[in-house]
Symmetry: C2
Subunit: 330 residues, 2 copies
């Protein structure tokens, strides 16, 4: 299957398309010849960055609007063939500070989207951006999709709720929806301003700025960073195949590393930098999930996906991007 054949001229909608993953997806869909519409709140604290779309602004239809307005949703989904549903509140710490907003964005908006699709555009295919956070405290590694859902923070709850609305609407109404549970995604266009949405962007920024990388605790936690191009490939494969309908798939990176080794790898790749161990902030420690490594054999088996970009290669491309574009991300 050639993805160009699948998406050429297709009407695709990306919610949250001004953010990190959404904007990378928009670039890829434009290059595949798709007709790309984007709706995004433009809220930088949620990850929106206008520069992410600057070079394709004439090739996409961008609407800045709040998806909490149900009319916006209905208008945007009309006539679309694919919905890449990436809008969301992704900050774990933020969900603890403003849990009601977290629930509204990640659950109520998602319910509105699902209901609007099944009523007004029942043939649309939806790819929902799920998260490994819903698993909560990890019981055994690597984690497959049958691992208990036992989130440790409010964000893990609201994201799971949004996912369940997609799955139940598939079961009851036959909605063509699936969820990809993502782990630490990294790459060009990610948020680097602070550690609010992810730590990798902040680390890269500090390396480029010549400041030490803060590593919490002893840095022994395991993570499996997933390069954004690989994540987008998974979204496109899931969109292209009816096999994915009603399914949940884990995504994961090629390599699982201790955070301290990830820091060292970054420093090595960047050709310089340093790291410093810091005590785990209490608010972070309480919602930490421990080690994480995805078992992604289900999507490998069913859709033929696997991560292809090695960690060092991905870090190198990410650091290069931000060295060239830092004024838009710091």
């Amino acid at each position: 299957m050639e993805l160009t054949d699948v998406f050429k001229e297709k009407r695709t909608l990306i919610t949250g398309g001004m953010g990190f993953i959404g904007s990378n997806l928009a670039h890829r869909l434009v290059s595949l010849g798709a007709r790309v519409s984007i709706v995004d709140s433009g809220d930088s604290s949620m990850g929106a960055n206008p520069f992410n779309l600057a070079d394709i602004l004439n090739q996409v239809d961008l609407k800045v609007a709040d998806l909490r307005d149900d009319q916006v949703i209905e208008r945007m989904i009309a006539g679309q063939e694919y919905l890449f549903n990436l809008a969301g509140q992704a900050s774990h710490a933020g969900s603890m500070e403003d849990p009601l907003a977290d629930l509204e964005i990640n659950a109520r908006c998602q319910l509105s989207i699902v209901e609007a699709c099944r009523k007004h555009n029942p043939g649309i295919k939806i790819i929902y951006a799920g998260t490994r956070q819903s698993y909560g405290q990890v019981r055994q590694l690597p984690i497959d999709e049958s691992h208990p859902i036992d989130p440790v923070d409010y964000n893990g709850i609201s994201k799971r709720t949004g996912e369940l609305y997609h799955l139940v609407a598939h079961r009851i109404f036959g909605l063509n929806a699936c969820s990809l549970r993502m782990t630490n995604v990294y790459g060009p266009r990610m948020r680097c301003r602070d550690g609010h949405l992810n730590f990798i962007g902040l680390w890269i920024r500090r390396i480029i700025e010549g400041k030490p990388i803060p590593v919490y605790g002893q840095g022994t936690q395991i993570r499996d960073p997933n390069f954004v191009d690989d994540v987008i490939e998974a979204m496109l494969l899931a969109a292209a195949s009816p096999i994915s309908n009603g399914q949940v798939y884990n995504l994961g990176g090629l390599e699982a590393v201790r955070l301290i080794d990830l820091a060292d790898r970054m420093i090595e790749t960047a050709g310089g930098g340093s790291r410093v161990l810091k005590p785990f902030p209490e608010a972070r420690r309480r919602i930490d999930i421990g080690d994480y490594q995805a078992n992604f054999s289900k999507i490998q088996r069913q859709l033929g996906w696997q991560p292809r970009v090695a960690l060092t290669e991905g870090l190198s491309r990410t650091i290069d991007f931000f060295r060239q574009n830092q004024e838009h991300y710091w």
Copy 2:
């Protein structure tokens, strides 16, 4: 442990206390010498019935208010020692008709309650009314608490979301909360007007009215009806013990029966009546969970609870109650 010693003079709050389970609990708490406050929206479609509290109205502090107003919540929980958190939207079919209201009542309100408690009354003990509906399609019988959570309707999602907020707040903030996952609860003061919230009440009404009981499909579905007094005993035991903090417990009845046998048992107990097989309505069939029987050995082991009222005895007491009080329930 004598429950009178535990609850005498204790300040207890029941949300949804005008409803079926809440009002039976209020009667029991009054008889144990507790100080009982109740907040209820008074919405009869959600199960509220003023007659449920008529005989103890002078012994409880009843406030009719909508818990969707956060100020109501904060005011009501101040100074309370126990919160029996029964307010909710319990209709499966209703959740499919108005899913946004279902989410707001069962998830957003619960989040507000949990947040208000952990901020303003962190020592309070909370008993949350969970539901077997969250398990969804049953994979093996009897179901214990480790069964996957895979709801088949929107109500199963929202109730699970409300439950998760309690459990996560226990984990992160040490909130003394637990959840009891209830199966078909029946008994005096249940809603009999229609089959909107439960089918047992409707069946009893039709028997008393001399009309045939409608049994869907072949009536081979298995259910384990739980008499309301047993459910209340479980809530009190869970409230009384710190062992329950952060835990989820299944409740279940003494006997699991096919629905057709339940109908026959009712007819026999009532001394007359008839039943008629009806095709499963499509909207119901789609959200049906199949057979259900709880494994309640966890609460038996940890809190010493078990159902005590035999099905025939429970049905007999329920039918007697409604024969005497039908004008308030039809």
